[in-house]
């Protein structure tokens, strides 16, 4: 009995100790990792900065917006001024407020579509790669079927068939049609990993298949999954805008796509109201560029074998000094 109390008290002690460690040191560690990610990594710095501006705009849209984006607040096609920072549209709506609220819709559609597509890609890719055999045959067939469908025409046909559709439908359509590419890459990578000795030894140790997939295989796929996710987000954002321009989205919702649609139907460029067209287009381009920049630098963090971080800078410095001592360079 004594022993029992002892062990419980000691384990409780250990628990509190770990918790106290968790709060402070963990934060320090995370900050250190974030620092290492951005250090000497210009794409990550620029991409992260741009993306955080866009995200902040989307999140704080109600605070930052000066007008109601869905209400007529001024005369049509007012040029940018102190009252309307980015001018007004043909129907007299404030472009600055619209672009902020539009970021919410466009980003949520793009990110949700990316999550759906990448989840499907991971599930299909990892199971067909890991289980092999019949499961692989069937899932691979499914992947190939989805892969040969031309995506954008399919989207257009589906959207046209369903009439003017809301953003939820577009999200699901984009998610369900853009997973096969990722699934193929993940399947190939899983097949390469599953024959490695650490997987075989995990099997011998009697680990469950779920654990092998989640703990042994998935961490090795992080950079591919994340890269694929960002790629899909960029693609989904473009497609959403594309469908919007074609008038296949819900034109009454405020999104970058519908803004472009109204800018086009009101032939804003012909009438000299460049701001109505250019602002949502620039917003799309900046967000896409920021995501692409982050995608470029993501591999450096998720792959511990890649040589980056502050200590590599020190290495270059020491190497230079050593070369100088040897009379090289």
């Amino acid at each position: 009995m004594d022993k029992l109390i002892n062990t419980t008290s000691s384990s409780a002690h250990a628990l509190t100790k770990r918790e106290s460690k968790f709060s402070w040191q963990q934060i320090k560690k995370t900050l250190g990792k974030a620092y290492a990610f951005f250090y000497g990594n210009p794409p990550a710095i620029i991409g992260g900065l741009l993306l955080s501006i866009v995200l902040a705009g989307a999140i704080f849209a109600p605070v930052l917006a000066t007008h109601n984006p869905e209400k007529r607040v001024a005369r049509p096609h007012q040029p940018p001024s102190a009252e309307h920072y980015l001018g007004t549209t043909r129907s007299g709506r404030d472009v600055y407020s619209q672009v902020l609220y539009g970021a919410r819709k466009s980003l949520s559609v793009a990110i949700s579509a990316g999550v759906i597509a990448m989840s499907l890609a991971v599930i299909v890719g990892v199971s067909s790669g890991y289980f092999g055999g019949k499961i692989d045959d069937r899932l691979n067939f499914l992947t190939n079927v989805f892969l040969v469908f031309p995506q954008l025409p399919l989207l257009i046909v589906l959207a046209a068939f369903l009439g003017q559709v809301g953003s939820l439908v577009i999200t699901i359509l984009l998610g369900v049609t853009s997973w096969p590419w990722g699934a193929r890459v993940i399947r190939a990578q899983t097949m390469a990993i599953r024959s490695k000795e650490f997987i075989i030894s995990a099997e011998v140790m009697g680990e469950s298949k779920i654990r092998i997939i989640l703990v042994e295989i998935l961490p090795n796929l992080v950079s591919i999954v994340f890269g694929g996710f960002l790629g899909t987000v960029i693609y989904a954002m473009g497609s959403e805008a594309g469908l919007g321009i074609l008038g296949l989205g819900d034109a009454t919702e405020v999104s970058w796509g519908s803004m472009l649609y109204w800018a086009q139907t009101s032939s804003s460029l012909y009438t000299g109201a460049w701001w109505e067209m250019l602002v949502p287009a620039m917003a799309l381009a900046i967000t896409g560029g920021a995501l692409a920049l982050i995608n470029m630098s993501i591999d450096q963090v998720s792959n511990p074998k890649l040589r980056t971080g502050p200590h590599i800078k020190l290495w270059h410095q020491l190497k230079k000094e050593a070369d100088k001592r040897r009379g090289l360079r």
Binding site: A36, I312, L314, W315, K319, R326
Partner: protein, 317 residues
């Protein structure tokens, strides 16, 4: 005594996020033509790092910070890329620890052999092919196996293929980084016998890296013992093996049984190797040494010649 390879005050650092770890510290050693030099020590003492440094295979975060490696009067560390490419394999070849990983699994062994020859010699393919068959015969593999893939061969055969590739250009020095660790004793013996026949025939030098001191005592002319990046004892194989002076060498030798002679209790070396990021003041070995005294904690010992001819770095001798 002329020297084939001379290493002077070599330091190799690993630049890690937690600090700079000196894996090879101020090592000076030389190899004469036709000599076998053995380097012994536990895991992580810098043996392989030293071997990699000689053929300049280190990549970031490893850095050869100080010292020189002189091969035939030329400093390897000052060579440019073209000189280095010529130097590697022509003059110095390397046999790595596991043969499975140094052979490409999707290319036949014959192709891999001829590749090496064609990369360095300007001869027609047919001649290179003939030479490859000859090389396989030298290491005791029939020429018919040229078309085999690595997975079709046993571990011992693969290791022989790797040795054949190392011999392909008749280098003056072969670095063997624990070449037989993955093999059983019978195969190990066979391969070493063959290697020594070849050595008598071609007259190359060997830098043999292993943690197996008894094997080393048998095949090496001289033995160097490393601990935590330092060369702590260097001398004639018989002397190091039979009359060790440094407490660490004594500990290593009393860690395995002798086949002949009385049965004695085996003594290991207590403790773990020192953390290279937190090197204590004075001797690196102080914490594990049974004969540590005050001076060991103050000053770092240097290599000095002792009565039996060994170079030993210890305050005791």
């Amino acid at each position: 005594m002329s020297k084939l390879l001379e290493i002077n005050n070599l330091c190799v650092d690993y630049v890690s996020p937690n600090g700079v770890a000196r894996a090879v510290n101020n090592v000076s050693v030389s190899i004469a033509p036709g000599e076998t030099l053995g380097i012994a020590g536990e895991s992580g003492c810098g043996k392989s790092t030293l071997a990699f440094a000689i053929s300049r295979l280190h990549k970031a975060p490893a850095l050869i910070s100080e010292g020189e490696i002189i091969y035939n009067g030329q400093d390897v560390l000052k060579m440019n890329d073209r000189q280095l490419r010529k130097f590697r394999w022509n003059d110095v070849s390397v046999v790595f620890q596991s043969a499975m990983n140094s052979l490409n699994p999707v290319i036949t062994i014959g192709e891999q052999l001829t590749d090496v020859i064609l990369a360095h010699r300007k001869i027609p393919y047919k001649q290179a092919h003939e030479r490859s068959v000859e090389l396989l015969n030298i290491v005791g593999i029939h020429g018919d196996r040229m078309a085999s893939f690595p997975h079709q061969l046993s571990g011992g055969m693969r290791q022989r293929v790797v040795i054949a590739i190392a011999l392909a250009l008749e280098p003056k020095l072969i670095i063997m980084d624990e070449p037989t660790t993955a093999l059983d004793v019978v195969v190990e013996r066979e391969i070493l016998n063959e290697l020594y026949e070849l050595k008598n025939k071609f007259g190359f030098s060997i830098l043999f890296i292993s943690h197996d001191l008894s094997l080393m005592g048998e095949i090496a002319d001289r033995i160097g013992v490393m601990y935590a990046g330092n060369l702590i004892e260097l001398g004639d194989a018989q002397q190091v093996f039979g009359d060790p002076q440094h407490p660490y060498t004594k500990g290593l030798i009393s860690s395995f049984p002798t086949i002949h002679g009385p049965k004695e209790r085996l003594y290991g070396i207590p403790g773990n190797p020192v953390n290279l990021l937190q090197i204590p003041q004075g001797c690196n070995f102080q914490e594990r040494c049974s004969e540590c005294f005050t001076r060991c904690k103050q000053a770092e010992p240097t290599l000095a010649r002792v009565d039996n001819g060994n170079l030993v770095s210890c305050h005791l001798v």
